[in-house]
């Protein structure tokens, strides 16, 4: 067992976390999130050109001539691969995509549409709604679970830690204008699960130690517990991150956003289990009586 005084830095890191949350919230409120076609509606086309001289501005110009609303063009992995997104989606015209492909071929040479996503406004609104419901439901379910398993002080600590992770992860997505799509919702849910997992492991140990030592104050007790579980925390984070970096680097462009969100989530999840969840136990002055009283009830 190592002996690192994590508890000396509770205050400093809490201030840092608070700052990060405030910055994230400011960005989330004023800049908002960069929703992809899943949630905003519109059309996404992943295309591959045969002509290597095609560049972003050339492709953007050809799309702009088609009157499709706001068009954005980005490189996507390969030299010849591009992602094009625009507002318009036309459900009443089955030839919509075909016409675009024809016009494009005549202006920039043969193009292959590798992927087309076309989402109407009604569907995108429903997807957004169900995404928000899914995340809220999972938070509620976690709260319920931990409320049954632990005392309320622990629940509060764990839930605040999760909020911390989710807000900062989304904040980073807002700051860098990274796209939010369906897979990001999946990532956020997994982050919620992971962060909870990590917090629960430390809390289990805190509770065990509360029973064992009646004379150690919670401030030092959390530090002992963090140290006792530290090598597990590190090893699990490392193996999970190894897997995630492997997806990020080799899993292809489509999974990049998902794995990035997960990587951020795991890093902040590990950090928050130590520096958010535990200081809250200290602030709420948890003692042996907290758990003994509960058990009597």
């Amino acid at each position: 067992m190592r002996d690192i005084s994590f508890n000396k830095f509770y205050r400093k890191f809490n201030i840092l976390s608070l700052l990060l949350i405030v910055i994230s919230l400011v960005f989330l409120i004023f800049k908002g999130l960069n929703y992809g076609v899943d949630f905003k509606g519109g059309t996404l086309i992943e295309l591959r050109t045969t002509d290597k001289t095609n560049n972003i501005s050339l492709i953007r110009d050809s799309f702009n001539q088609m009157n499709l609303g706001d068009v954005s063009v980005k490189k996507f992995g390969n030299e010849t691969d591009f992602i094009v997104k625009f507002e318009k989606q036309n459900s009443n015209d089955p030839e919509f995509i075909k016409n675009i492909q024809n016009k494009l071929s005549s202006s920039i040479g043969d193009v292959d549409f590798r992927r087309v996503e076309n989402v109407g406004p009604k569907v995108s609104l429903e997807l957004l709604k169900s995404g928000i419901i899914a995340i809220s439901l999972s938070l509620a379910a976690m709260l319920l679970y931990i409320w049954i398993r632990f005392e309320w002080q622990f629940s509060l600590g764990a839930i605040l830690a999760i909020f911390h992770d989710v807000i900062i992860t989304l904040g980073i997505f807002s700051i860098f204008s990274l796209e939010i799509n369906l897979s990001i919702v999946a990532a956020v849910l997994t982050i919620v699960g992971y962060s909870m997992n990590d917090t629960v492991v430390i809390f289990d140990r805190v509770r065990e130690n509360l029973k064992k030592y009646s004379d150690i104050k919670i401030f030092d007790l959390t530090n002992i517990s963090i140290n006792e579980t530290l090598s597990r925390t590190i090893i699990t984070s490392v193996t999970t991150l190894l897997a995630l970096f492997s997806i990020y680097l080799f899993g292809g462009e489509i999974l990049k956003g998902f794995s990035l969100a997960m990587i951020l989530g795991v890093i902040f999840g590990t950090y928050s289990s130590i520096y958010i969840a535990n200081p809250i136990l200290v602030a709420l002055n948890v003692s042996q009586r907290t758990i003994v009283k509960e058990e009597k009830d």
């Binding site: 992943e46 459900s91 009443n92 015209d93 089955p94 995509i97 075909k98 292959d112 590798r114 992927r115 087309v116 996503e117 076309n118 989402v119 109407g120 009604k122 569907v123 169900s130 995404g131 899914a134 439901l137 999972s138 976690m142 369906l182 897979s183 919702v185 999946a186 849910l189 997994t190 919620v192 699960g193 992971y194 909870m196 997992n197 629960v200 492991v201 289990d204 140990r205 006792e228 090598s231 597990r232 090893i235 699990t236 193996t239 999970t240 991150l241 190894l242 897997a243 995630l244 970096f245 492997s246 997806i247 680097l249 080799f250 899993g251 292809g252 489509i254 999974l255 998902f258 794995s259």
Partner: protein
């Protein structure tokens, strides 16, 4: 915790071997008679199209309301009750009655056994909600009336969609109802969905109507434009014949004009109607109207009594084939709109599979190396558990013929990364226990026992997230929740049966060594 009976050892081995066999049967074909299941690849991996169609029921509602007005008029006329000023305002039928018959009409409409306002005995709600205001009645579809209407139009539409998709001949299309006005069409392996999209986008309402003699629009005629947009024509509203009477249609070559045409044959009723109309209408122009557009308007030279005919109009062979297909499969009750489309080309799908497998392999290798570096012999045990975990996971997905998507592959990789957590928790606990306990068997036993609740807690939380995602997520994301959820179960099995078995064998054999872990 460390003791395993012989029976238990054998069952663990048998179980693991069977599921590993299932997993391998995806890649190497053994005996098909014993096990022939495969993991399904999602549309994002094998390529294909996902189309969500929504029925636009407004024309159906208007049609039904108009029919209802006629029915009401006839019904009350038979009962010799005077109703007047029938009108249709939005989705509301309005009519007035005279004072002395007010109560009578009201009772008929609200009667539980009513013949004109039905459904009550079955659904405890009438087809129409009736509101009276003085002598003015207004009828609106009730919630149930609307649901039933939508359901029946959805049932009809799904049947027509299925016929059209089947006629095009894609492999294993998946056509499902979604709610009461949506149809989900999944077309695996389809490279170019444009043809199916344009086929599904047409209502295919075919009618034969005479072109009116005078060029002015009047009561009983309507102005329609030609398909190519070149000109308009005034057409009699009387429908001679509709697509319902068609029994077959196919593209053929007209030997005289060398043109591609669609030849059709009619059922008996249709043949009779068509014969009668064409014998009285020799010399007139007969417009062939599809979805409100005139395809062509040939002149009737002689009565057509054989019950078959041809539709001409600048067809290519492809467009004639498509029209024939539409006519054979019948008309949709209402137009369909494509409200969501996701198409992935087959080469992108293959690229995703390759990238997925590569990243799985690398992630797996890194985790395995890290575990051996950290725990030596026990790392090896954890790794064996991890390998069997992977086989079990893929084996179970195969057994249930689950659909594997790209996010699903990510879920498998993530499982690999997180699966070692349980073993790490146990090993770390054992390390702590060995400090106070000299007997390794007791220390190992305590390590397993004391870490159990933590491991359960930790896995249940992830399982909750996976469950919610499964019920709320759609498409590829659902695939992620499946692999994540099943991955947790196989992780627990591999930790508590496989790894524990190996640990116990190792510890019992080496119990006299110093510092086992």
């Amino acid at each position: 915790m460390l003791y395993f009976s012989k029976l238990r050892i054998i069952s663990v081995i048998v179980f693991t071997v069977i599921f590993s066999y299932f997993a391998f049967s995806n890649f190497v074909k053994f005996d098909d008679r014993f096990f022939s299941k495969n993991i399904n690849l999602g549309l994002d991996l094998q390529g294909g199209s996902y189309l969500l169609l929504e029925i636009d029921n407004r024309p159906v509602i208007t049609q039904k309301l108009q029919a209802k007005i006629i029915e009401l008029k006839r019904y009350f006329k038979e009962k010799e009750i005077t109703l007047k000023n029938f009108s249709l305002k939005g989705d509301t039928i309005l009519f007035e009655t005279i004072d002395k018959e007010f109560e009578n009409v009201k009772n008929i409409l609200n009667d539980k056994e009513s013949d004109v306002n039905t459904y009550y005995p079955t659904y405890k709600s009438h087809e129409f909600d009736v509101i009276e205001d003085g002598n003015l009645f207004s009828l609106n579809y009730s919630r149930y009336g609307l649901v039933l209407l939508k359901n029946s139009s959805l049932d009809q539409a799904i049947e027509i969609v299925r016929r059209r998709v089947d006629e095009v001949g894609t492999n294993e299309p998946n056509i499902l109802k979604r709610g009461n006005d949506r149809i989900l069409v999944e077309l695996p392996g389809l490279d170019d969905p444009n043809r199916i999209k344009s086929l599904l986008g047409k209502t295919a309402n075919l009618t034969f109507q005479f072109i009116s003699q005078n060029n002015e629009e009047s009561f009983g005629t309507e102005k329609l434009s030609f398909e190519d947009g070149s000109r308009d024509a005034v057409v009699s509203k009387r429908i001679i014949l509709s697509g319902d009477n068609l029994v077959d249609a196919k593209p053929t070559m007209n030997s005289q004009t060398n043109e591609t045409v669609v030849s059709f044959s009619l059922d008996r009723v249709g043949a009779k109607k068509f014969g009668k109309a064409t014998s009285t209408g020799v010399g007139k122009q007969l417009a062939i109207v599809l979805d409100g557009k005139i395809i062509s308007a040939p002149s009737v030279r002689e009565p057509i009594i054989g019950g078959s005919g041809q539709i001409s109009g600048d067809f290519t062979f492809q467009s004639a084939t498509d029209l024939a297909l539409l006519l054979r499969s019948g008309a949709l009750p209402a137009p369909l709109n494509i409200i969501e489309e996701r198409t992935v080309g087959p080469d992108l799908g293959q690229d995703s599979i390759d990238a997925g497998i590569l990243s799985l392999f690398i992630g797996f290798l890194l985790v395995i190396l890290f575990m051996i570096y950290k725990y030596r012999a026990f790392g090896l045990i954890a790794n064996l558990a991890l390998v069997s975990n992977l086989f079990l996971l893929i084996g179970i997905l195969t057994l249930f013929e689950a659909t594997l998507t790209l996010p699903g592959i990510a879920g498998i990789i993530l499982t690999v990364g997180m699966a070692v957590d349980a073993n790490v928790l146990i090993f770390e606990r054992i390390k702590e226990e060995t400090k106070n306990e000299k007997n390794p068997i007791i220390a190992f036993d305590a390590g397993y026992t004391k870490s159990r609740t933590t491991i359960l807690d930790a896995n249940i939380t992830t399982l909750i997230a996976a469950f919610i995602l499964f019920f709320m997520g759609s498409g590829p994301v659902k695939g992620f929740s499946v692999t994540l959820g099943v991955g947790i179960l196989t992780t627990l099995f591999s930790v508590y049966f496989i790894a524990r078995l190996l640990t116990s064998l190792y510890v019992v054999k080496n119990k006299d060594k110093e510092q086992l872990i």
